[in-house]
Amino acid sequence: METTNSKSLFSVIFSTLKSLLPAIIPSWNFFDYIAPSPRAQFALLHSEDGLPSKWHEYCPQPDYISFITMLKRMFWNSQWNESLYVMSCAERLMDKPTHHSEDEILNCIKQYVIANNQKYNLENIKHLQFRLVFIKRQGEELQHEVTFLSRIAAFSNQSTVKTP
């Protein structure tokens, strides 16, 4: 038991220090090429075996943002930064699928739905599912490809999604 705990602790320390390495020796290759861009879409379900009838865009961009709003967002940009984190998790899911990335996206979508509950009919909604759509340029056209379908997770106004 003690050996297992030591191994687990070692694994946590090792993986965390490994994540630190790109900060000590960064690559700085921002936007070196424009990769396919992920969008998270979610469906609200009445039951665990229900089929999604409508996919909603997670955190859709507004049509227009004033310069004043842009200035305010220099100091408070919480929702947008969370949506960028969801994008990172989506890219991680494609590179190396983990429960963590899936759970994080589910949790962020859940928080988003709760915060924007006036937009959705949440009556009898018990479950949530998301899919990832990657957009890329194919010649002169834009191609949309569904690359990931999440598990169906329980949805309530309080609990967070737990890794099974």
Partner: protein, 229 residues
């Protein structure tokens, strides 16, 4: 304007404290347990700004930085988090280094990484034909998730403007190291890069990049004086 090492380090601490406070406050609205990581981080950021127990505060901030990396299984905000940790490591090493020479090495490393952050970004773009033709920037506006509003996507239909913007970005990033030759050219370059980060914050919502990159600027001003004057 002459910066001593101590003054540059202190200014960096204040700026990074502000950046950390801003980042931490954004996390407090959430109902998830991550609040318990960011509330103490906010308090530590304020202590850093005030200059109270700085060495211990930096060490604790570094520990929280590692805990946050573990919590999100990597950076939460990509390059901004990496620069945050880099500055933190550099400042911590400055405070624990046993002599001035090692303090200068630790702080100089931050300045060199700041230079590389622009030069390498410019280099990886200029070797890509899509960037040279303006198509890459067009794609950023057309289908990437970054533009903060749908109206900004119409910029993808302005090829001449995007070509000019692409070359403007690539050239100032590639030429940035030359700005170190004189103090005036460096100040001009830093104003240009700060404006660039501000534009990215407005157009693409990358507000954290603006604050954290600005926080590293004192290291470069000090470095330029140390090497070239």
């Amino acid at each position: 304007m002459i910066f001593s090492l101590a003054e540059a380090v202190r200014l960096t601490e204040i700026l990074v404290g502000f950046a950390f406070a801003q980042q931490s406050i954004e996390h407090l609205k959430t109902h998830s347990p991550e609040r318990f990581l960011f509330l103490p981080r906010l308090i530590l950021a304020l202590l850093l700004i005030a200059g109270i127990y700085t060495q211990w505060v930096l060490l604790l901030l570094l520990l929280f930085g590692l805990a946050i990396l573990y919590r999100f299984q990597g950076p939460y905000n990509g390059g901004a988090d990496r620069m945050s940790l880099l500055i933190l490591i550099s400042l911590t090493l400055v405070h624990v280094a046993p002599n001035t020479y090692l303090q200068e090495v630790a702080f100089g490393y931050l300045a060199i990484q700041l230079i590389l952050s622009y030069f390498i970004s410019g280099w990886v773009k200029v070797v890509n034909p899509d960037w040279r033709s303006g198509r890459a920037l067009s794609d950023v506006f057309l289908f990437s998730a970054y533009p903060v509003s749908e109206s900004l996507r119409s910029l993808s239909q302005s090829p001449h403007l995007l070509l000019a913007m692409s070359w403007y970005v690539m050239l100032f990033e590639l030429l940035f190291p030359i700005a170190l030759l004189t103090q005036n050219s460096l100040i001009v370059a830093l104003v240009i890069t700060a404006t660039f980060h501000f534009s990215n914050a407005c157009l693409f919502g990358l507000n954290r990049f603006f604050w954290i990159w600005i926080a590293a600027y004192p290291s470069l001003i000090w470095f330029q004086q140390r090497i070239f004057i």
